[in-house]
Symmetry: C2
Subunit: 388 residues, 2 copies
């Protein structure tokens, strides 16, 4: 049933997406990757955004580890690893958000995510090469991330009296992703405990009435829905949470949690899909209030990439045809709005009606990650190579 | 020629905009203002965003000082001043970005602008009341802002090796605005020096080929246009710069600078106006590259408000009819897209085609400021009460 999708996704991955980034993204002069690429791959900003450096390392190494042992994948991963390890950490071991082309620091974001993608890249690279130094550093950074999430003051973000102590969905997602790979790599039981905590933490974000994961919930029992962040629903994130949970549940089975994850894929699409113009909204307020995000009604590439893989996974797990109807709808939207057969790779940013808002293929938040990951994972799920 | 505009702007200001904010924005229970207001004025977020608290204080006090000595304007200004002075500064005297409804700190932004609007509010309030404590604090905060702009490390934003030392247009704008009011209030010559520095600083941002002010220029002679921020053009900001320069030049005449300011109004509109759908773009790359801002093609209320006043001012200064053609175009766009005769005040956020992207009247960056300021200043310029 899904074979035609797998063939098409493989073609998109290997003939359009990967060649685009291999051709335009590698900075052979200074190392690392250009990610600010115009429609045709021309570089419009030479700076190195660390989220995207780490993500591209992970992606190239993952392709090497699981798609095909092509030396150029490993070379491309090494180009990023060497650059990151040389330049991305400050004297305290924290990870910068952006660097100059040559590697000098530019900006430190008071968030743990630069470190998250740094860690992801190092770990996957160590799996490709057996590099023990890389694995040791990935392990060290992981536990720093756990600490930074627990105590953001270490990232220069002090707690203030007016804040409601809350849990952020993104933090569960990234800890779960990292811990699952570390558990698989090292067999260390501590990572399985983080995975368990992640599952429990993410489930606290589930809104059973709407069958979606919300971005923020209070930790002290208060109803955070009195504030905009407590009502914030990011459909792409909610869908990503669902498939990450399904991955974690492979090793830690829990039928109730599995059902919630499946329900959240459907609920997120039912609430997040734009009935008027098609496509998945970027942000929504679950009470129908205005959002503070002015780009809320835009259609971004990555929620659609997440949805494709989540739907493929849901179908391969359940065999229920309702997932195929959604997959057909999302896939059709992607291939009529985001894909660019002329120059390769997907566009990233459409307005509500689906017209291109930006003609770029990459930027400071779009790199070599969501599209190839979703395509690779979908191919793998369909072909059964790594079915959950 | 402009009398009909003045009459309409006065009606909009006094019958729609001011009543909307007086009715919905004042928090009589805890002080300060709600700014996150839905279409009908309902509050969707009770937090206090300090940029907008200071701006509303300034606006209410300015209306009291220059439009009409209505006690409710002064009362409304006091509600904000008392709240701000009680809650908005940290132990080091820096100014928070946001506060809980009751006043506890929520977030500190590593930028000087919360302090800028805090200062603006206090100064204008001191002009309304003669409150010497307020004036003394406004003076103190002004010199702190000068220091913070010169040394952002004081705002926890360290300089990093990869940064190109650059000048930010916004900093000139705010220093010029604050210094002009302080010079007028105190007669102190030091403020006239800041005004002179502002004029010189802003003129360094002028791109004579395009007749626009760019957001960032390098301080060390490098061509910053190799980076996106060096190519960043914010038409609304460029237009606002032009009228602020024209204000500063009242007291420090310079015919060449005056000509540049007038040219920049026209150049910014010629480059920033969307020939296809109408309205002024939010961000543009002057080399036609993609921007990093995903909301670049949206149409926001405030560039249009700035344009209305700049065009009124340009016409009253020059009598040239070319300004009237632009005024007619911008005014028509505003009153068919942003104004809301049903509930009052303007909407803030349209997509490129002019459809509403958010139905809110206020948020964390839209409050009681740009619309009433542009309307008041336009009325004053037209009626000659305070013509430059």
């Amino acid at each position: 049933m899904l074979e035609a999708y797998a063939a098409r996704y493989r073609r998109d991955l290997t003939e359009s997406v990967v060649p685009f980034w291999l051709k335009h993204s590698l900075d052979r002069e200074y190392g690392g990757y250009f990610t600010c690429l115009g429609r045709d791959g021309s570089v419009y900003d030479t700076r190195k955004y660390v989220w995207l450096q780490g993500r591209a390392v992970w992606m190239f190494a993952r392709l090497y580890n699981q798609l095909e042992r092509r030396p150029e994948f490993l070379d491309a991963a090494r180009l990023g690893v060497d650059f990151l390890r040389r330049h991305a950490r400050d004297a305290q071991g924290r990870v910068y958000f952006s660097l100059a082309r040559e590697g000098q620091p530019l900006f430190f974001q008071r968030k743990p995510y630069a470190a998250v993608f740094y860690q992801m890249g190092l770990l996957e690279y160590s799996r490709a090469t057996g590099d023990a130094g890389c694995l040791a550093e990935a392990t060290e950074v992981f536990w720093r991330i756990v600490e930074w999430i627990a105590n953001p003051a270490l990232l220069d973000r002090p707690a203030y009296a007016g804040q409601v102590p809350s849990s952020s969905l993104a933090n569960h997602l990234v800890l779960g992703l990292l811990a699952a790979d570390l558990a698989e790599t090292t067999g260390d039981a501590r990572y399985r405990q983080v995975m368990r905590d992640t599952i429990a933490g993410a489930l606290r974000h589930y809104d059973p009435a709407r069958r979606v994961f919300l971005e923020h919930v209070a930790l002290d029992g208060r109803d955070l829905r009195a504030w905009p962040e407590g009502r914030l629903f990011n459909p792409g994130h909610s869908i990503e949470t669902a498939w990450i949970l399904l991955h974690l549940l492979r090793d830690l089975p829990d039928p109730a949690a599995r059902q919630i994850a499946l329900d959240a894929i459907e609920g997120s699409l039912e609430h997040g899909w734009d009935a008027e113009y098609g496509g998945i909204f970027y942000f929504m307020d679950i009470a129908g209030q205005p959002t503070l995000q002015l780009e809320a009604t835009m259609k971004l590439w990555w929620p659609h990439a997440e949805a494709i893989y989540a739907l493929v996974l849901a179908y391969t797990l359940t065999g229920e045809t309702r997932w195929l109807e959604w997959l057909d709808r999302v896939d059709r939207y992607v291939y009529t709005h985001f894909a660019d057969p002329e120059h390769g790779e997907w566009f990233g940013y459409c307005d509500r009606r689906g017209d291109l808002a930006l003609a770029s293929k990459g930027g400071n938040y779009k790199g070599f990650f969501h599209v190839p990951r979703a395509l690779l994972f979908s191919i793998q799920a369909i072909e059964g190579a790594r079915q959950p």
